[in-house]
Subunit: 128 residues, 4 copies
Amino acid sequence: MTMTDGLGSRSWAVPGGGIPFPSQPDEPELTGADVLCVLNTGDEPAELRLTVYYADQDPVGPYRISVGARRIRHVRFNDLIDPEAIRLGRPFGWVAESQVPVVVQMTRQVTRIPGALALCSVIAFAGS
Amino acid sequence: MTMTDGLGSRSWAVPGGGIPFPSQPDEPELTGADVLCVLNTGDEPAELRLTVYYADQDPVGPYRISVGARRIRHVRFNDLIDPEAIRLGRPFGWVAESQVPVVVQMTRQVTRIPGALALCSVIAFAGS
Amino acid sequence: MTMTDGLGSRSWAVPGGGIPFPSQPDEPELTGADVLCVLNTGDEPAELRLTVYYADQDPVGPYRISVGARRIRHVRFNDLIDPEAIRLGRPFGWVAESQVPVVVQMTRQVTRIPGALALCSVIAFAGS
Amino acid sequence: MTMTDGLGSRSWAVPGGGIPFPSQPDEPELTGADVLCVLNTGDEPAELRLTVYYADQDPVGPYRISVGARRIRHVRFNDLIDPEAIRLGRPFGWVAESQVPVVVQMTRQVTRIPGALALCSVIAFAGS
């Protein structure tokens, strides 16, 4: 059996991260969030190492995220806690590196105005 | 007569899919939806094979989508039923493969908060 | 004096066009619109030829759009009338071709729900 | 010690800029804004030169923006004042050039309808 490489790239970057704050407290699905979305079309699990960059301190990481072979995974930055939680409302950027090719997207949901909902999404910038 | 290749790529990927749920029930045009948009500028019909990837099970597909020569097609993921419907609110990703070059975009409309409307869109990641 | 080429590409494509309809009638700046945004950083005026593709008929065009040297231009698809106006609410896609390199983006504003506003934007897919 | 180049490109462009106007006056964090987001993963500070292009006059710049080694920076176009402030509501485009590779994104927040919030974001077009 041969492993086949999946679609995509081994490094991905997003400069414009931030966990929207405040957000609607009552419904968990309406919490403001940046969501990291990973697609691994290959035959081998992807082991991602995420590094978070800030305006005023050294980068923090790696956050480790596994995505099974032929699987997706959507992870809220709000839920990343190891090595440390990301402070709400603080600007950041990030780089995700994987030992196998994957495709990476970021989607943001903002609910800070009651009764309003805003979304944006980008395919991350693909490095080498 | 010679067939001329159209603009684009033969494989496209989006990691961050999901059919927004719940959504406003009364007006069909306001239903929450992920929409797959395909542009075929070439002289030959494009026969797309769409594979849907999940977090916790094997991929499902191919969903078959035809786009005529020099035509576009906008397909709501909500309307894909063969080989099986996509469950509302469940995270997914997808790969679209075509035997001829096409250009592929994904646009999402979310209407889960009454009186609010949110949109996002990405040009899919172009593979080889 | 030598002409210097600007940044970008000579052909650009967007599969997911559509002029949002209905929209708020009172304020012209809040009309639902797809906006074509062109940046010409070069020393020569860009003469764009826009072709609009549909799901169920042959493409229409060229729509001609000029963008001066070292200038931008933002054009609402709603305002394109020659060779013919684009019907509101009808799905389309498009290709913009220029004799010199330019950069092209599409931004959509939707105001079909009173009191709500939705935006999305993509850098168009760059062809050769 | 050797300097290592960071991820990305040395020139980036966005055709579809504009500072949304009017916007909600009371809360500074809800002001309508285009935000330039830069990620510098390299070992050397990035010195960006931003040139702003208009529809009806010569480009203005350079606006100078520094981003430390292994840092991000999010800058609102509203806050750029040297060589001159950017008029609210006026269409523009821009090119950001850096002496070292960086990754650049633009995110827009629109609050012109009271009680509504709209967002859009693009990774800028990467030049050479």
